[in-house]
């Protein structure tokens, strides 16, 4: 039985994969990691950066995160990774009262979690499995 063959084919031009959002204090860090994850996993996965404050300086911004989640969402759910501290608070604040499980903030190392999640999503796996891959990245040795 082939997990991918069992999946419904998305309409042409529409990704039917779990989206990934990367929230960082740094716009460059979020963008760079989104590039890395996309290059490894393939560009069919939507990996959306949400970095930097409203003024473009270091910081986090709820509107930037909300827009990134909207771009990443193809209907299969979105996994959100955050770098540290107030990034997490910003995402939590945004999801407050809207926690229906469709958008999932995961407790995962930023770089490894993003790459693991993107590869898992690119193979057409579920929101649950993509989130789990990101969280399991914590225990992975690099060599």
């Amino acid at each position: 039985m082939n997990a991918i063959a069992g999946r419904k084919e998305p309409p042409p031009g529409v990704s039917n994969l779990v989206g990934i959002v990367l929230v960082s204090h740094s716009r460059e860090l979020a963008r760079g990691l989104a590039d890395l994850a996309s290059q490894v996993a393939g560009t069919e996965v939507k990996v959306e950066p949400a970095g930097g404050g409203p003024d473009g300086k270091l910081g986090t911004n709820g509107d930037t995160v909300r827009e990134a989640i909207a771009r990443a969402d193809s209907g299969q759910g979105v996994v959100v990774l955050a770098d540290l501290g107030s990034s997490i608070l910003t995402v939590r604040h945004l999801l407050q009262g809207k926690a229906n499980g469709h958008v999932r903030l995961v407790d995962a190392p930023f770089v490894e979690g993003a790459v693991a999640a993107a590869v898992m999503s690119s193979a057409g796996q579920s929101l649950e499995d993509v989130a789990k891959a990101a969280e399991e990245a914590r225990g992975a040795s690099k060599f």
């Binding site: 039985m1 082939n2 997990a3 991918i4 063959a5 290059q39 490894v40 996993a41 393939g42 490894e112 790459v115 693991a116 590869v119 898992m120 690119s122 193979a123 057409g124 796996q125 891959a133 399991e136 990245a137 992975a140 040795s141 690099k142 060599f143």
Partner: protein, 79 residues
């Protein structure tokens, strides 16, 4: 592994995506290390380089097809 190809990020992702098509438990071994073939981080941590021999194993209902697909994937890897 074909000579000149290392199991680094992109080839490793191709390998893992192939493994994820199957239900069986799949592992890939090198030099006494064994990695879950469905985990990109575990496969990357093997640090497999060109010309090395990988030991593939599968356990489950679709094990033969999975082994065949993974072996084909490895031998067909390009930079």
């Amino acid at each position: 592994m074909p000579a000149g190809v290392a199991l680094h990020a992109r080839p490793a992702a191709t390998f893992v995506k192939t493994a994820l098509r199957f239900r069986s438990q799949l592992t890939v071994g090198l030099d006494g290390k064994v990695a879950n073939a469905k985990s990109i981080l575990a496969v990357l941590a093997l640090g497999a380089t060109g010309g090395t021999v990988l030991r593939l194993s599968a356990e489950g209902e679709d094990a033969p097809a999975a082994l065949e697909a993974l072996a084909g994937c490895v031998s067909g890897l390009v930079e």
